[in-house]
């Protein structure tokens, strides 16, 4: 039977589609575009606002990891394969923590300062090795968080092994949720719009062929530094946020988990889409809550997911789903 038929794929798309602005002609088209975006927005907001307190915290953690994953994906779509989101996360966390602990600044000041300063510090730290790419950059970013951890341990600065405790919390859980939700959507949709702009195109071109980009007269190192700043600022924000959420900062913020989980989320969701990592995080983090009773076996589980995803499912969920959503498939009889 299959000899006589073939599968045809047609783009379902909307009727008129200009480059940047969608020309919408009907409610159906608007709904078609809006529907996939509304599901996660409404879903996560519902989960964050209406579930019991414990699951509220889980939803917040999900948002944080989603932001880390989105920023990982952003960096990787600028050609920088980072294995150390924990570095950016930890720097942001320690900045906010020490500002609050030593200077007594309130939450509303420490978080913005930590975002900017954390981003700057991470960028400066990685500036000497910004020429590297691929495995070399990955090695450096994998090693740096471990190094800072050892440094904190060896010099006993910033609270040493115990960390800084008793930091000021958020006024209430609603503020916390609203803040992280807003930040997550802003970073996701902002970065998507950003990548699609002319300016963001340079980042993609650096990933695709940095020699050619260099040859066309663009200073790729300056652009890489900017991308690094944007990506690490997002992570630093997450770090600062978590610091105040847990009222604690310490060496665990440089833990492997903060590096691995975002990558696992991106690998599941689909690398290079920015929305894929979010989907991945929404799957992985609640799942890991269910697996909490297994203790450290959770990390084994992430590792397995990573390996399996990379080998067997390189496409990721998001690519698959969006293809299914945007295409009609039908069997066509061959003449």
């Amino acid at each position: 039977m299959k000899e006589n038929y073939r599968k045809e794929r047609i783009a379902r798309g909307i009727k008129a589609r200009s480059d940047d602005i969608y020309a919408l002609t009907s409610y159906r088209e608007m709904w078609y575009l809006l529907f996939p975006r509304l599901i996660p927005i409404v879903g996560i907001a519902l989960a964050a606002y209406f579930l019991p307190l414990y699951w509220k915290k889980v939803a917040i953690t999900t948002c944080v990891f989603a932001m880390l994953a989105v920023s990982w994906d952003f960096l990787s779509s600028c050609g920088m394969l980072s294995l150390g989101q924990a570095l950016f996360f930890g720097i942001g966390s320690y900045t906010a923590g020490s500002l609050n602990h030593y200077l007594g600044l309130p939450v509303y000041l420490t978080i913005p300062i930590a975002t900017v300063v954390g981003g700057l510090l991470s960028t400066i730290l990685l500036l000497p090795v910004i020429r590297l790419r691929g495995i070399y950059f990955a090695m450096i970013t994998l090693i740096l968080p471990l190094m800072i951890m050892r440094l904190v341990e060896a010099t006993k600065i910033l609270g040493g092994t115990e960390g800084l405790t008793g930091l000021s919390p958020f006024p209430n859980v609603w503020v916390e949720i609203t803040l992280i939700l807003a930040a997550m959507w802003a970073s996701l949709f902002g970065l998507r719009r950003f990548i699609a702009s002319d300016y963001g195109l340079i980042f993609v071109s650096i990933r695709d062929n940095d020699r050619a980009t260099m040859a066309s007269g663009i200073n790729i190192y300056a652009f890489k530094a900017q991308a690094l700043f944007i990506g690490s600022s997002i992570c630093a924000f997450c770090g600062a946020f978590m610091t105040h959420s847990y009222q604690f900062t310490g060496m665990p913020v440089f833990a492997m988990e903060f590096s691995i989980l975002p990558i696992a989320a991106a690998a599941i969701g689909g690398i290079g889409t920015l929305a894929g990592p979010l989907v991945g995080a929404c799957i992985l983090v609640p799942l890991s809550e269910f697996l909490r009773e297994f203790g450290t076996l959770r990390i084994v589980f992430y590792g397995f997911i990573l390996v399996i995803c990379v080998v067997a499912l390189p496409e990721g969920i998001f690519h698959y789903a969006s293809r299914k959503y945007n295409e009609m498939e039908r069997w066509v009889k061959l003449e």
Partner: protein, 286 residues
Amino acid sequence: MLVYGLINSAVLAVMALGFNLTFGISGVANFAYGAIYVVSGFLTWTLINHLDLPYALSAILTIIIIGVFGGLIYKLIIRRIRGLVISEVIATLGISIVILEFLRYVGFIGFKYSLPVFIKGSVEIFDAYVDIQRFFIIVLGILLITGLYLFTHHTKIGLAFRGIAQEEHTSLSLGINPDRIASFSMGLGSSLCAFAAIVILPLGTITVDSGYDVLINALSVCIVGGLGSTFGVIIASFIIGYAQTITATYLSPHWTIIVSLCAILIILAIKPSGLLGHQKELEERV
């Protein structure tokens, strides 16, 4: 201190050789290296203490098993994604995490896991007591390096190794199967790693965390020496070995790992191909 530095260098060289071999030949940076190191330590321990095998036999068994295991990792996982840098890194790191955290889960934590030393006793040199085991490491390291040199330069499969490392397409046309060679190199690299583990681990206890340290040390030595260059590895292990010993003496042992990290940073910032790396790689990878 001079003696300690020499010993430390030999330890580092033995550790890094396996990593370097795999990277130089198949181009796969094996982030699971530290995990393999720890696994071989535990495997030997289990063979000795639970199956009551003699020490030499269990060491040889471990080397063989780990070698096969490394080859299998290549066949099952890395072969499918070879050449895609992101996937390679993520997959090997994933393997490493699976292994290490699984060991942690199973309960290989604590101080009771240590291998017996080959030769007990110590000698006094320049007012410092040194275990004979450490001299043993130096001797074995030299033997290993010589053996590896003879292997790659004078046997057929070793020459095929070098061919693949230099020009894969030409070797293909000469009838060399790159996949087979690469998986063999991965196996050999893992065996070397197991060997290093068996030789070095009797000096301390086996912990899961040492896996990450070994990975960092191997990486730093290989990067400083130039990835894929055996002679570079030896020089780099001397540099880093002495630097670590000096910092451990004058500051504190906490700082040793920071020294190797700083070495990586400095070398990568100044000469990314390493001290003795090839210029071609500089252009390709940086």
